[in-house]
Amino acid sequence: MNTQVLVIDPAAGLAREARAPREEGLPGDFAIWIFILAEMLAFGVLFVAYAFTRAGDVELFNASQETLNRTAGAINTLVLITSSYFVMRAVTAIKHGLSKDCAWWLGAALMLGGVFVGIKAMEFHDKFAAGITLSTNSFYMFYLALTFFHFMHVLMGMIILAFVIAKAWRGGYSRQDHVGVETGASFWHMVDLLWIILFPLVYVIR
């Protein structure tokens, strides 16, 4: 991510003023939704590929699935859902013009993101210590690929949140103009949603 996440160019600002306030339509910038759509497509195909490959070798998948740390996965699910709730509160706060509240809620979400990353890193550490790699078998290929791909998205989301927090703290958003917050929030919700599909699919369903 570059440092210009929150820079608003004059033309964009003008366009926004002309249109705000608005209630209906997609929250955040349309560009992020194109990106989200592409990401969902990539993950979607990965999920379908997982399901098909699993159907071809159910026993291997079930046996390997046994070795996963389901408790860690479940905790992480709760962590992400809670963080998404915080992000939602942040958006509500900025809609009421409460910049500092918005920043605090986002800060809490960012912290939970950190918790997720910590727990996930421990899981990765355990698997790598056990000598498991992408080439071990097709279950672990999918497990590592999907969770690592998602892990990178969480890191990306945290960077985005950090930028939004910094700007919100400086009072860079207002009741009228908070597209940046909504854009960041949309990305974070996507990251959360992907995990909500990923966790049962890879950790639980047998």
């Binding site: 592409a38 590929a49 992408l134 690929a145």
Partner: protein, 458 residues
Amino acid sequence: MQYQSQAVAKPYFIAAIGLFVGQILFGLIMGLQYVIGDFLFPAIPFNVARMVHTNLLIVWLLFGFMGASYFLVPEETETELFSPKLAIITFWVFLVAGALTVLGYLLVPYSTLAEMTGNNILATMGREFLEQPLITKIGIVIVALSFLFNITMTLLKGRKTSISLVLTLGLLGLAVFFLFSFYNPVNLVKDKYYWWWVVHLWVEGVWELILGAILAFVLIKVTGVDREVIEKWLYVIITMTLITGIIGTGHHYYWIGAPEYWQWWGSIFSALEPIPFFMMTVFAFNMVSRRRREHPNKAAVLWALGTGVLAFLGAGVWGFLHTLAPVNYYTHGTQLTAAHGHLAFYGAYVAVVLTMISYAMPILRGRAANSEKAQNMEKLAFWLMSISMLVITLLLTGAGIVQIWLQRISPTPMGFMAVQDQVSIFYWLREGTGVVFLIGLVIYISSFFVKGGAKAAA
């Protein structure tokens, strides 16, 4: 012409077209060697003709990109080029180096050429598309650096538009990834793995930034659509290009000894690669239909739309056709690959360079657009070249499908050479279609020499 220094683009465009002719002539020689095996043997063996054919393509496209940049950047940055003199020096250095390299290919046995040019110091030669002698490769780096320096300095002193930024980023990536051509480990798997960092990350990565920027520039000029709108779409399209194309490199890692998970990564991400090309087509048509002015240069508009459609067909559709690992298992390294290569290069890169030439050349010659008659000839050339390239692609696809069936799927597989005899009819038709392409090219070049009735300068 708004800026004097844009004039340096002209020799670049002329050289590009000249080398294009050479490329097509050698293509016809190879096409004939496919059916009359000993044609021109031993004077020009197939491998030499192919090397000249592909290297000329790369070099003339680079000439085209450079010419396009020298034309585009002053107008975008609203300032004269940092150093027109350097641009002209670079031009001659590149042209002479390119000509010497091709002469080397044609006149000296390749192994002797390797010995003469320092391949024993650092072995980089003899890999597909990177056959250039070490000194030529170093020359390319020097030319690329001086070119980038010139463009960057111009950019720094002028207006920084998205188009010029994306273009410069693409050119920078082009130079950076070319450096991997100097890495040639003995380990064949690693050699191939990083070879694709040049080839794939060029044509399905950074070159698409250049393509997008040039297309966006011409579309702004010929449609008069708001820059804000066009640049926004440019960003969205190149974002999609890179997020699908970078991991999409994996579609080259299926069968070269890399880990097998690349079959998943490569299949999934490269299956998404047609999306940006489709968006580009929609984008081009959308902008033209929303045009705010009737630009007198209709030929340039045709080329721009053609780029959208043909790039989508060649790179998008024909790429998707064989990108999934289970399909690619059978199609890898057959005439189907050749079919895709031809239409993708023509549709994406040849077409975009010719779009730029079509738009810029009349202006460089002091008029907004060519005469009606010249434009009609150019349009005829567009249709002849584009349709014949499409037909060539279909014929090679036919040859590829038969080849795959006889050689790889059939319960009693035939040997390679026996199969080649079976598909010779496709090769004959391809050669005939190639002649039509050449006729199109001759008409294209003649259109530059049509006299009279020019539209007034812009």
